[in-house]
């Protein structure tokens, strides 16, 4: 088991390095760079020597491999450098936005779990009845509705019907929990509903499979009450794939809520990424991608760990 996990752990690094290389090369293929953009304002062109000087200052005149070496050297020491657009340290640009995105992801996951588990279990227990159909339709509808559309309707409803507006500025949870919740609950609900769809389906099918297993039948035969069977036996075993799906969705939520952030006016990681791409802020893009991909890779590793721990057969794969 130790060897398997060690292998898994070590494999994380080439993946991260690959992500770094791909990002580094990709963004340099995009036409236009930060300097040109910044000094190509509405009034027309800036003299070429100013542009050249600025490029030299940012190291953009160096060959790509040299730039990469310098950057990765910093990353190893956890120094992501400075934003090319604002000149401030990357962590300063990211920290508040990451806190926000992370929190929305957590809250949305909670919403998704609260919706998915009861609905999925119910659908499985009442398989192929109208209850099952309704639950399936509702959850697929969640998957089908574009989150930006849902968001627009949410906001409009709050404003027009209830004449109420969520707070405009992000207040960290530890500063003012109530203010914080008031702002983030709406996107969390919209996203949570959407992502509960996958988890509901997972729960349903996992439950169905477990219900067919022998020991449940035995338990039923022994005359145990339905509720006890459910909580003690069925749920526990059905949970593993469900947890996997939820964990992976969670990892994607941190960086993947671009459109939701736009609609709900959240200054999160997703929108920052869009802005960084628009500014060709290479250092910021790189840091963001590493962060988001890093989260995903770590969550995946943790899931592997859990699997290996719960189900020893995995180790021999």
């Amino acid at each position: 088991m130790g060897r398997y996990l060690l292998k898994r752990f070590i494999l994380m690094f080439p993946t991260l390095l690959g992500v770094a290389v791909v990002t580094f090369v990709l963004i340099r293929v995009v036409p236009g760079d930060v300097v040109e953009l910044r000094y190509a304002g509405d009034r027309g062109a800036v003299a070429q020597d100013i542009i050249d000087a600025e490029r030299t200052k940012l190291g953009l005149d160096q060959p790509v491999w040299k730039q990469f070496a310098r950057w990765i050297g910093g990353v190893v020491r956890l120094d992501f450098g400075e934003s090319m657009w604002t000149g401030s340290p990357i962590w300063q640009e990211i920290k508040l936005r990451f806190a926000l995105s992370f929190q929305v992801a957590v809250m949305a996951t909670i919403v998704a779990v609260l919706l998915a588990i009861p609905l999925g279990v119910m659908a499985a227990l009442k398989q192929d009845t109208w209850v099952d159909y309704v639950i399936r339709v509702v959850s697929i509808a969640g998957l089908a509705t574009p989150s930006f559309w849902l968001g627009i309707i949410f906001i409009l409803m709050l404003l027009v019907v209830f004449r109420w507006l969520p707070p405009m500025v992000y207040t960290p949870f530890w500063v003012d929990p109530w203010e914080n919740i008031k702002q983030l609950i709406w996107p969390a609900l919209a996203v949570g509903y959407r992502y509960s769809a996958v988890a509901t389906r997972m729960t349903r099918s996992a439950m169905l499979e477990v219900l067919r297993e022998d020991y449940i039948r035995t338990a039923r035969a022994k005359g145990l009450l339905g509720k006890v069977i459910l909580s003690r036996h069925a749920l526990k075993n059905a949970l593993l794939p469900v947890v996997t799906v939820i964990a992976i969705e969670f990892a994607f939520l941190i960086g993947g809520l671009v459109v939701t952030e736009q609609v709900f006016n959240l200054n999160g990681i997703g929108l920052l990424f869009v802005q960084a791409v628009a500014h060709r802020d290479y250092t910021l893009i790189q840091a963001l991608v590493m962060l988001v991909a890093g989260c995903f890779i770590v969550v995946n590793f943790l899931m592997d760990l859990t699997y290996a721990w719960i189900d020893p057969r995995i180790r021999y794969r």
Binding site: P146, W149, S205, P241, G270, V274
Partner: protein
């Protein structure tokens, strides 16, 4: 990675006899046992015909500007109202289905096919090739879908073919993963060894013997991806990074003016939103039922 551990489809090697009667029977059986899937299929058929016959069905030219008819509510002349340029919303929706379906089908077929070839090939060769291919897939899987698509659009520019490319790329590793796990089981089957013993080349074995046997997961993946691709296209268009005016596209119809006029002209926001939801909904319903029909054990995904 834990993303997709699919059991092998049992029905994989069963080939349906190619007779018309058999097809009708299968279809009828599908309709009887899977009412939800049938509804999905019906919506898809309606959409396909709308896209196909758009110039005949659509009451107006979707791109012609008529300021005299700007922002009119639903009426007999304009069933779903008009936009600020006096363009008929219904006509734009009908023509927009072309964009959605083109991008949806092209991206999912392309992504599914490339993914299938990679998945089957890595399962067949195993060893080092598999290991390296998996690492490359891991790298692409680590980017959230929208982030990868967004970066690609920035690089390629936003025409429809480029948009299809941008949506295809993130789909490839996802398809490859699913197909690979099915193909691993196919690889163990006797006929593959037989083919090798007979001295057939790798390409031939992969393409002729293994690929046809992962048809079921392939179909499932493709239908599931169509919906996703349509959503992704509309998200990108909504962000202003997808299809561009004056080309009619659903996501584009929802951005900008639809939000600004949401209160005075809600028809501009409601109908394209419904169209997107309905389309994705239909593909998901159909895909779900198809999966259940093709292989009951695949439900776990």
């Amino acid at each position: 990675m834990a993303v997709a551990r699919l059991p092998v489809p049992e029905s994989a090697e069963v080939r349906a006899p190619r007779t018309t009667r058999r097809w009708v029977a299968v279809t009828l059986e599908f309709c009887r046992t899977r009412p939800l899937g049938t509804i999905g299929a019906a919506v898809i058929v309606v959409m396909l015909s709308a896209a196909l016959f758009a110039p005949v069905i659509a009451p107006y030219d979707p791109e012609a500007v008529h300021f005299s008819a700007m922002l009119m509510g639903p009426s007999p002349a304009h069933w779903l109202g008009t936009d600020p340029f006096g363009r008929d919303v219904l006509s734009r929706l009908i023509f927009g289905s072309r964009t959605a379906l083109t991008v949806g089908f092209a991206a999912s077929l392309l992504g599914g096919s490339i993914g299938a070839v990679i998945g089957v090939a890595t399962a067949y060769f195993r060893g080092r090739i598999d290991l390296y291919a998996q690492r490359v897939m891991d790298i692409f899987l680590s980017f959230p879908l929208i982030i990868l698509a967004l970066s690609l659009v920035a690089i390629l520019g936003n025409s429809i073919p480029n948009l299809i490319m941008a949506i295809t790329v993130p789909m490839v590793p996802r398809a490859a993963l699913v197909i690979r796990s099915s193909a691993l089981a196919v690889r163990e089957m006797a006929f593959v060894d037989a083919a090798r013993a007979a001295g057939f080349g790798h390409t031939r074995i992969v393409l002729r013997h293994m690929l046809p046997n992962v048809m079921a997961p392939f179909l499932i993946i493709v239908t599931a991806f169509v919906g996703q691709a349509i959503l992704l296209e509309s998200s990108l268009s909504f962000l202003g990074l997808g299809v561009q005016e004056p080309t009619p596209a659903w996501g584009l119809m929802l951005s900008g003016a639809a939000v600004e006029f949401a209160e005075t002209a809600p028809w501009m926001a409601i109908f394209p939103g419904v169209a997107i939801s309905l389309a994705v909904f239909a593909f998901n319903l159909f895909g779900d039922s198809l999966r259940d029909a093709l292989d009951p054990r695949l439900r776990t995904q």
